[in-house]
Symmetry: C2
Subunit: 209 residues, 2 copies
DNA sequence: CAGGCCGCTGTGGTCTGACCACTAGATTTC
DNA sequence: GAAATCTAGTGGTCAGACCACAGCGGCCTG
């Protein structure tokens, strides 16, 4: 490859090359990318530089490596990222509060969308699931997040939830009746009541947002 | 360090060691971390492994390296992350829609919070700013996001906005009167009207969420 | 022929030692 | 005292060497 970007770091150039390579060959999750040695050859850089780029992308969750097999594009989701950012600097008090608040906001958004757009079947399925067995609070809201059909919002929720879990603001004992009440309101498309139930009976808050 | 995690990758152990090292010495943004060679010594691993870890953290935006000086903890914000994830796989149509929807949801959340908790002075200041000169739509909502005092939510908005900008769903010509109307409702704490104004007059949508 | 063993090849994982480029601070020089 | 210089330390990069592991094909045995 050209080495015009003279002063910048090689491993970043490799990242960039990989990006365009993926784009050019329209590689999809699961596909294999060239081996480290081949990349090193093709790009005229040392193998260690290639590795630095690959390790970085791996930590980002963009690729996956299997020793003896090769390096593959990953169906990205569930990056290491979460645990990382989380444990790295999330000890502050204010941050914790923001976290909790944001989580509530996102969950309410999801509830709104579900109240509007989810099919009755979906909601009934969820009711059956609640009745069926034990679950944690975040199991429940994960399902809500999935129901909302907005993959990005779902992902944001997942990330925030992971943060929240590493810092134990989890709530253990769920009372099924509260969740059932919530679902019933959703089934009736009563957005207002549903959110009220969520805030007061599930999150034990007063009426402010 | 112990090397019990026999089968896992060394560079990940280094990342972990760095994490606890930072925690133990309560290092803050701007502080220097040990040199690559020293880490390599202290942890009994090759320098290349240390570098793989550092490069990964660098791409994540957690640290910053300056040749000839050393490696420093970074005031994290503005990671490379955004551009990366963005350019890597965000070409899909559905993803674009989700993006737009999520952005609207977050913005509405911010508006709600501002309507409840922002001081009249803050809002008036914003009104003055709108009157004062030209601005882009995202300039405006960045200020809204900042007003809401939830740093995490603000960060999420920033990220989503960056995504959105790389894929040009930006709107150019703003009409000040719409934004002023919105702010007036906020000043009157009329959440409902404010959101209606946002959706219909600023985002040109019908009444659904 | 079927099944399993073996070794070859290619891949990632890691280490070492060698340079280079650059910075900052100490040293020397004027 | 100020300016130029030297030097030690740091990140940036490379080449080459092993190791561990997965996959494949060929060979042997039943």
């Amino acid at each position: 490859m050209a080495e015009r970007t003279s002063s910048s770091k090689i491993y970043l150039e490799v990242v960039e090359s990989l990006r365009s390579m993926i784009e050019a060959d329209s590689l999809l999750p699961g596909d294999k990318i060239p081996s480290e040695r081949e990349l090193s050859d093709r790009l005229n850089v040392g193998r260690s530089s290639v590795r630095e780029a690959l390790r970085a992308l791996e930590l980002l969750g963009l690729i996956e490596t299997r020793r003896g097999e090769g390096t593959f594009i990953r169906d990205f989701q569930e990056h290491k990222l979460v645990e990382l950012l989380g444990t790295f600097f999330l000890q502050d008090k204010k941050v914790q509060e923001d976290l909790a608040e944001t989580k509530r906001l996102i969950e309410i958004d999801c509830l709104r969308i579900v109240a509007f757009f989810a099919t009755a079947e979906d909601i009934k399925r969820l009711i059956a699931w609640v009745r069926a067995g034990e679950f944690r609070d975040d199991d429940f809201f994960l399902r809500i997040a999935i129901l909302n059909r907005n993959r990005l919002l779902e992902r944001i929720w997942r990330i925030i939830n992971s943060y929240a879990r590493t810092s134990e603001m989890v709530q253990g004992n769920v009372r099924k009746e509260e969740y059932l009440a919530l679902l019933t309101y959703l089934l009736e498309r009563d957005e207002e009541k549903a959110i009220e139930t969520y805030l007061i009976r599930i999150r034990n808050m007063s009426k402010d947002e």
